[in-house]
């Protein structure tokens, strides 16, 4: 290992600029003649849109245009799309309703944009927006997914507000196993809706060049090429080669910046109409209504056990709320990213899952850190924990009995797990967490009037998204390979162009570490270029913990080609046979001699072209590669949470957290630890404080930080984070991915700990202090009544 190679806890190269305010975000970009966009949004959750009077607004000072959905339709700008086709049980395709970037005939949620004002200044745009009169005919609204089917129909294409009724697995075999079970554990769960809240709000700046008839969009995207593809091919804004998308520094995404949103489409369209650059930057309040939310499932699940505590079947019925329209990848989240993980870490012979996806009058729901996999883990890990309690077994023991122990393992729900050692991570976590000492800690807590509980979460996820043919067969509209280009400069420094996009992951460091390891050069000699469709040929972006497993594998392929060509050149320069050239620690050596050339010398020779036949070997040193994975990767691990509850107030504190994860090869253990910390924080936030509240009319009541609680440092103890390692066999580096693990593992660990402390399962996320206090009061009342 070189000092900055694979496995080194190198400090992040990008942090210098981020922590000194030198980052360059979309809102930092300003173009000559720039104007500002302000969106008028529906205050009603469900209404017909009769007319919009923009005359008074258009006459205000500084106004360049006031545009509506009618104008958008008039200019034949296409609708936004959902790019993953799901078919219902009966074979019918999902009911994707038209989603115009500006609503033209009806609005479907509070925040649905109906008009945009383009002005010289943002203040002028806001003032003019006050003058727009919109004539709404308010219709009855629904926000609760469980009530969607009987509510007023939102879209003509979707009777009973049902998008699809999908299923996976063997219904008959599962029912038979349930019928034959010694014990069945049943549970009803709500997976609460979350507002993503990346630190940098979304933004878009669009510029039209009439000379070349081309558009440029700067935006906060996790996947600029996908944005360009959708905006070209589906929205029809401009041909792909006439649209450049640049996603510069992006301050957090968590999935919410994958999607193609109305605002960027409108900015592009408006920029061309007014002939001036148009900028929109969301403020925080707007983000609550304009960014796709996460989760929002209602689930009933049953797990069957035989007499030995072996799981024999799992049956799950979920209603997934997709909100007012289908967002870009919304259909895949509660289906192929969810039900395919319901086997957890366990050998479960029979699984059957039904998912009904519904429209409601709420902000659209799409992928959010973990995307489907946290929901699956929550179902499985809550069931296993409750099952252990009902069977009178230690929850760790029940898990051990059911762990998958040999690999590869084909689950009944598509996934073929390739490698893992679930017992190892459980054991290590139990030691680190001192599970043996828990009884003593519980007694100590009781002396201070506190209830102490311990909860496990032995989660699994499918990452490294994704093998193209596999996802294609499941309905994905695109392949999910990745590309890379390695450009070696004549002086030996290297630029790596990647189709991944970093927005907090530290690619500028970890990708450089890979190059450092392979070429034997310092990471300071390596630049990572990403996020610009004019620089990087194509790429699928960053989500689903894919950048290491898929993106770096593409870089490995390109580096292999660079090394092969450099060896040829070195052979000519050193007048040796190509087969005799060895490359190690940044040096090309003629085997068995002291003749050698440093990597930089070969790079220079490649560009000078004096000492090798350029008719046979092209000058220069630049190679590209596309890498398509052969399987998903399967990070897994064990998180153990301990909480204490104040019996008088319900105040609940996470007092200990242990995470032992198997991510395969670690490129940078410090960055991995940071990813785990952030994931746990988001998972604990979901489990304990983050609550998205709609009233029955569809008003978002938790629409600001006054009412929507985000986790802060004081919500957490110091985390004990460690790893075990089984290499991922399907990619050259053995990487599994770590970006989502914490958020996937944490909610179940928290809720298992809280229910352990309380002695009741009757509490839902978020288990706020108030919810815990109420659960305690209910138990006390029931106890008094029983006595």
């Amino acid at each position: 290992m070189s000092a900055t190679g694979i496995g080194a806890a190198v400090r992040r190269k990008e942090d210098q600029r981020f922590i000194t305010g030198k980052g360059h975000y979309t809102d930092d970009v300003s173009r000559p003649g720039q104007t500002f966009a302000y969106f008028v949004r529906s205050p009603h959750a469900h209404a017909k849109l009769h007319s919009i009077d923009v005359k008074a607004a258009a006459a205000m000072p500084g106004i360049l245009a006031v545009l509506t959905g009618q104008d958008l339709a008039g200019d034949k700008i296409g609708n936004l799309i959902c790019g993953w086709m799901i078919h219902s049980k009966d074979g019918s395709p999902m009911k994707m309703a038209p989603h115009p970037a500006l609503a033209a005939t009806k609005v479907c949620y509070v925040g649905d944009p109906v008009a945009v004002v383009i002005a010289e200044t943002l203040a002028q745009a806001k003032d003019a927006a006050e003058k727009i009169a919109v004539d709404y005919e308010v219709l009855s609204a629904v926000t609760d997914p469980a009530k969607a089917k009987s509510a007023a129909q939102i879209h003509d294409v979707a009777p009973k507000n049902t998008i699809y009724e999908w299923h996976l697995g063997d219904s008959k075999a599962t029912d038979a196993a349930l019928a034959a079970a010694k014990h069945i554990t049943r549970i009803d769960l709500t997976n609460n809706r979350l507002v993503p809240n990346a630190m940098e709000p979304r933004a878009a700046l669009a510029e039209y060049d009439s000379g070349t008839d081309s558009l440029t969009l700067w935006n906060t995207s996790q996947n600029p090429h996908v944005a360009r593809l959708v905006i070209s091919a589906f929205v029809g804004m401009a041909p792909e080669h006439k649209l450049r998308v640049i996603a510069p520094d992006v301050g957090g995404g968590f999935g919410s910046k994958i999607f193609i949103y109305p605002e960027e489409v409108v900015c592009l369209w408006a920029a061309r109409r007014v002939g001036r650059p148009v900028k929109w930057t969301s403020d925080r309040s707007e983000a609550f209504l304009a960014d796709a939310h996460g989760r929002d499932h209602v689930t009933h699940a049953e797990m069957a056990f035989d007499g030995d505590g072996k799981i024999t079947a799992l049956k799950v019925k979920t209603i997934a709320n997709l909100g007012g329209y289908m967002s870009t990848f919304s259909s895949s989240v509660p289906t192929y990213l969810y039900a395919t993980l319901l086997s957890g870490q366990y050998a479960i012979p029979n699984i059957y899952c039904e998912v009904d996806a519904v429209y409601t009058n709420t902000v659209p729901v799409d992928a959010y850190r973990g995307a489907g996999r946290p929901e699956a883990t929550f179902v499985v890990e809550r069931l296993v924990e409750v099952g252990a309690r009902e069977l009178g077994l230690d929850p760790a023991e029940l898990r051990k009995r059911n762990f998958i122990k040999s690999f590869p393992h084909q689950t009944p729900v598509i996934m073929a797990y390739d490698a893992g050692d679930y017992l190892a991570s459980l054991k290590k976590a139990m030691e680190l967490a001192d599970v043996k000492g828990f009884g003593r800690r519980k007694r100590d807590a009781a002396r201070h009037g506190k209830l102490r509980g311990l909860g496990y979460s032995t989660y699994i996820e499918a990452c490294g998204i994704a093998p193209s043919q596999a996802v294609g067969s499941l309905g994905a509209g695109v392949g999910l390979w990745e590309s890379a280009e390695v450009r070696v400069n004549p002086t030996g420094s290297v630029e790596v162009l990647t189709g991944c996009h970093q927005h907090g992951q530290g690619h500028e460091t970890t990708f450089a570490q890979l190059v450092s390891e392979r070429l034997g050069i310092s990471i300071d000699q390596v630049s990572i270029v990403h996020g610009d469709t004019d620089k990087v040929q194509f790429g699928m972006g960053t989500y689903g913990s894919r950048s290491g497993a898929v993106g770096m594998s593409a870089i490995v392929k390109a580096l292999d080609k660079v090394e092969a060509k450099a060896k040829k050149i070195a052979a000519h320069v050193m007048e040796a046979a190509e087969g005799d050239i060895e490359f190690r620690d940044g040096k090309f050596t003629v085997a068995g001699t002291d003749k050698s050339m440093a990597f930089g010398e070969v790079a220079l020779a490649a560009y000078v072209g004096h000492k090798f036949p350029t008719q046979e070997i092209e000058p220069g040193l630049k190679e590209g590669a596309f890498y398509d994975p052969t399987n998903f990767t399967f990070p897994a691990g064990c998180h153990i949470c301990e909480i204490e509850i104040d019996q008088e107030t319900g105040e609940t504190e996470v007092v200990s957290w242990t995470a032992v994860d198997d991510f395969g090869t670690l490129i940078n253990p410090m960055i991995v630890e940071g990813q785990v910390h952030g994931g746990i924080a988001q998972g604990v936030g979901q489990a304990m404080i983050e609550q998205t509240v709609y009233d029955k009319d569809g008003q978002l009541l938790s629409g600001s930080y006054m009412d929507y609680a985000m986790p802060r440092a004081h919500n957490f103890p110091a985390f004990k984070v460690d790893t075990t390692e089984t290499k991922c066999p399907s990619n050259p580096l053995g990487i599994k991915g770590c970006g989502e693990a914490g958020a996937i593992a944490a909610p179940a660990a928290v809720m298992n700990a809280i229910t352990d402390a309380l002695g009741t399962e009757k509490i839902e996320m978020p288990a706020t202090s108030m919810a815990v206090w109420r659960a305690l009061q209910t138990m006390n009342r029931n106890q008094v009544a029983a006595e």
Binding site: F288, L701, M706
Partner: protein
């Protein structure tokens, strides 16, 4: 979101005087906090414009107000819908009843309202306080008007 508010005010005037003032557009315009304009459309219907601030949301509400269930001089129902543009909307009504008390008139009111948009998103914690404050201010003004 739904908002309810009830209250009562002792007014230093007879029931007939209070009733007349409750139906007088000029009095209402002078007493409604932030009221910029109030025009009668018919005997029991008027259009009003009022500027109000609730927490961080300042809005100019334009709306049509209807008086119904008229029972002179005992009370009526006043209801309407105000469109605050990008700030959202408010709609609802109040049942107002008058009784003789201590040589004056006791006015009781029962408000039920719905608010939406930015008002609900940002102002919901503040809405009850703001509404109470506005009501207090209205009746303070109104008490002065009936006295005068």
């Amino acid at each position: 979101m739904a908002m309810t508010m009830t209250g009562e005010v002792q007014l230093p005037a007879s029931r007939d005087t209070v009733w007349a003032k409750l139906n007088d557009p000029a009095t209402l315009k002078a007493c409604i906090p932030g009221c910029e304009d109030l025009n009668m459309l018919s005997d029991h219907e008027f259009e009003a414009v009022a500027v109000n601030k609730i927490g961080p949301v300042k809005a100019k509400f334009k709306g049509r107000v209807t008086l119904s269930d008229l029972d002179p001089p005992n009370g009526y129902k006043i209801s309407g819908q105000g469109d605050g543009g990008v700030a959202g909307f408010a709609k609802g009504g109040a049942v107002v009843s008058l009784t003789d008390k201590d040589g004056g008139t006791l006015l009781t009111y029962n408000v039920e309202a719905q608010i939406g948009g930015k008002l609900a998103q940002l102002g919901q914690r503040l809405i009850n306080g703001a509404a109470k404050k506005m009501a207090d201010q209205f009746f303070e003004n109104f008490a002065a008007a009936v006295k005068g």
